[in-house]
């Protein structure tokens, strides 16, 4: 049955995330504020104080504790939530590795902001990039509705018996965290029904009183390797399952996002731009305008960053004449953007073609329509066998 709820509120991305958490009924929320995430944990505190959110709300003393509390709450069999950003994300990094190593299905929000180095209380996706090999599933979203929907879907993915991995939902700080737009807040009973299949699955690994389960002991030799292999295999399985969950969500709530990626006007395109996060909305309008000018350009919105949607991307990008990748972060040591570097790795499947890296939007610099228009022009030029610049910094 398709739910037809229309409970529209004009709310910020942070508040949309808080509503999603409220609907997922966590047992434990561990909270530590950091700009631009603070509003999210404040909103959850308010839900808790108002008696709407029946959970243990723990105001911890730092992000490292936030991650430990949440990880342990999941290991004890509960559903947990925590959220962070930037400095906070890298401060909890050691425990993030533990959470994924324990195969603890935690869902966490990371509100993208430039991490330490040069102090910047500004948007940027470098924080997420710093943690890309943490063994977490990493998802990037585009707008406030997608924040809410993706968090709900993430619990279905994380807690699935065949996956049991933590999921990090990323959205651009400032551009989405404080942007208010109309968001449809689903009814509690509909979300309950959507998450109900988890209850029909076999019991996941958890600490049971009296069972004497030992966690975190030394993994020795082949035991360690076996563990890593299983972790990696679960990551791979999550790709197909995520597409299915997205379809289920669409059937239930009428909104779908294409699963691992969204392909926009790519079918007959000669050239393609790959982008993530809030900049995708701007890119879509530019793609439409360029199409009207006769340039056959398509857009790929990358939702899964880890695991990387290799098969889906290869299917779309194979045979294109040139590809551009827009990064809101940088890849030290490769002289390009990180997503660009990952897309380059696909050439072993799809062959060689001109590939262009665009670094834009660091530290709250706006990614404008003009910027993206210029990127499309450059990709087009490269597709015409003209000389092109591999790396472009904008603005």
């Amino acid at each position: 049955m398709t739910a037809r709820s229309k409970n529209i509120k004009v709310i910020t991305g942070n508040t949309a995330a808080a509503y999603a958490v409220l609907r997922c009924r966590p047992d434990v929320v561990s909270a530590y504020p950091i700009t631009p995430q603070s509003e999210l944990v404040e909103q959850l505190a308010k839900f808790h104080a108002d008696g709407l959110l029946d959970c243990e709300y723990v105001a911890v003393e730092g992000e490292n504790s936030a991650q430990n509390v949440a990880c342990a709450a999941v290991m004890a069999g509960g559903r947990a939530f925590t959220a962070t950003s930037s400095y906070g994300l890298v401060y909890m990094y050691d425990t993030m590795l533990q959470t994924s190593g324990y195969r603890a299905p935690l869902v966490m929000v990371n509100v993208n902001r430039e991490p330490p180095g040069i102090h910047a209380v500004y948007s940027g996706q470098q924080d997420m990039i710093c943690t890309r090999d943490s063994g977490w599933i990493q998802i990037v979203v585009e707008n406030c509705q997608e924040i809410l929907d993706t968090i709900i879907m993430s619990y279905r993915l994380a807690e699935d018996y065949d996956i049991q991995l933590p999921v990090m939902v990323n959205y651009d700080g400032y551009y989405l965290s404080f942007l208010a737009e109309s968001v449809d807040i689903p009814e509690q009973e509909d979300v309950d029904r959507f998450l109900a299949p988890l209850k029909e699955q076999p019991q996941r690994m958890k600490l049971v009183a009296g069972a004497g389960t030992g966690c975190g002991s030394h993994g020795i030799g082949m035991g360690f390797v076996e563990y890593r292999k299983k972790h990696m295999a679960a990551m791979e399985r999550s790709k197909e399952l995520w597409d299915k969950i997205d379809q289920d969500f669409k059937n239930e709530f009428g909104r779908g996002y294409g699963g691992q990626i969204e392909s926009y006007r790519c079918d007959d395109a000669d050239i393609v731009l790959v982008a993530t996060g809030s900049a995708v909305g701007t890119a879509r309008t530019v793609i439409d305008a360029k199409r009207e000018q006769g340039i056959k350009v398509g857009l790929v919105k990358l939702r899964f960053f880890r695991p990387f949607p290799v098969e889906k991307l290869c299917h779309i990008l194979k045979g294109k004449k040139a590809i551009g990748v827009l990064d809101r972060s940088i890849c030290f040591g490769w002289n390009c953007g990180p997503v660009f570097q990952e897309v380059c790795a696909l050439t072993r499947h799809i062959g060689i073609m001109p590939m262009l890296s665009f670094i834009d939007g660091l530290a709250n610099m706006d990614i404008t329509k003009e910027h993206i228009s210029g990127m499309v022009d450059e990709i087009y030029k490269a597709s015409q066998n003209k000389p092109y610049q591999e790396l472009t910094w904008l603005p």
Partner: protein, 279 residues
């Protein structure tokens, strides 16, 4: 006449201007905030103590108070959240000639950085730690911290804080600090004198300074800045050398101010030299 007044005003120079990066003024602190007063007391003490300012540096963490290092026109470091004390430790150990001042807030020094405080004091690293305590995370918008009084309302404890706050002087004493004092930003002369003393002493010196945060703490707890200052005047009592266990933060009972610890434990570098550099 008006032109004369204008001309004379343009020549007015604040006596502490040479210690401030004036190009960064106006500062970010709200009207009624106590941080500026404590910062100015610190600058005055730096001058009156006659320490070599060329060899003086200030380290801050994150937060409203953490902005202080950025306004000081000496070597200054704005470090990551909670890490002011380990950063300052590195400075001091690499260059023992330096006068190292840590100027940071309660949230930074005692919540996310609490672990470093006890170890800095335990090692008795030669530095002066000034903590502006406004009972809340000010910069992030007024969330509960490790110093928030019981039942106080914050944005993450809308019905009141269930947890007890730290007694900071007790923590400093128990961890091994050589010098411990507490004042409010209203007791500016005594505060300045104590900072002066701390700057010239050896070992780990800690001064807690109570200061209002009208924007985030005051509004939530129905306390305007002037009322907070009245509390500082009427509900405090000066008792030097009192047992640190009596220094709980309870405005109904009264807050004890003064100098509580003044001892001569060997410093981190002295202990190191004695143990690890045997001739």
């Amino acid at each position: 006449m008006a032109a004369d007044i204008q001309a004379s005003q343009s020549e007015i120079v604040h006596p502490l201007d040479h210690l401030i990066r004036t190009d960064r003024i106006p500062h970010i602190w709200c009207p009624g905030c106590g941080i500026g007063t404590v910062f100015s007391a610190c600058l005055k003490a730096m001058i009156s103590s006659r320490i070599d300012l060329e060899k003086t540096c200030m380290v801050s963490g994150i937060g409203c108070t953490g902005r202080a290092a950025g306004y000081l026109n000496l070597d200054s470091f704005h470090t990551t959240h909670g890490r002011a004390i380990p950063f300052a430790t590195g400075l001091k150990l690499a260059n023992p000639e330096l006068n190292v001042i840590v100027f940071s807030g309660d949230g930074d020094l005692f919540a996310i950085g609490g672990n470093h405080f006890i170890h800095g004091a335990r090692r008795n690293v030669d530095m002066t730690v000034i903590c502006v305590n406004n009972f809340i995370y000010g910069m992030t918008g007024g969330q509960v911290g490790a110093t928030t009084p019981v039942k106080a309302k914050t944005t993450t404890t809308p019905v009141g804080n269930p947890d007890a706050p730290f007694n900071l002087p007790l923590l400093a004493w128990a961890s091994g600090a050589n010098y411990v004092a507490r004042w409010t930003m209203l007791h500016i002369r005594k505060l300045t004198a104590c900072i002066e003393k701390a700057l010239t002493r050896k070992g780990f010196s800690f001064i807690e300074v109570l200061a209002p945060c009208p924007t985030n703490y005051g509004r939530k707890n129905k306390e305007n800045s002037l009322e907070t200052l009245r509390l500082y005047r009427d509900k405090t009592i000066i008792k030097n050398n009192v047992d640190p266990s009596e220094l709980d933060m309870d405005f109904e009972k009264g807050i004890i101010l003064g100098e509580f610890v003044s001892r001569e434990r060997p410093t981190c570098i002295e202990n190191y030299d004695r143990t690890c550099r045997i001739p």
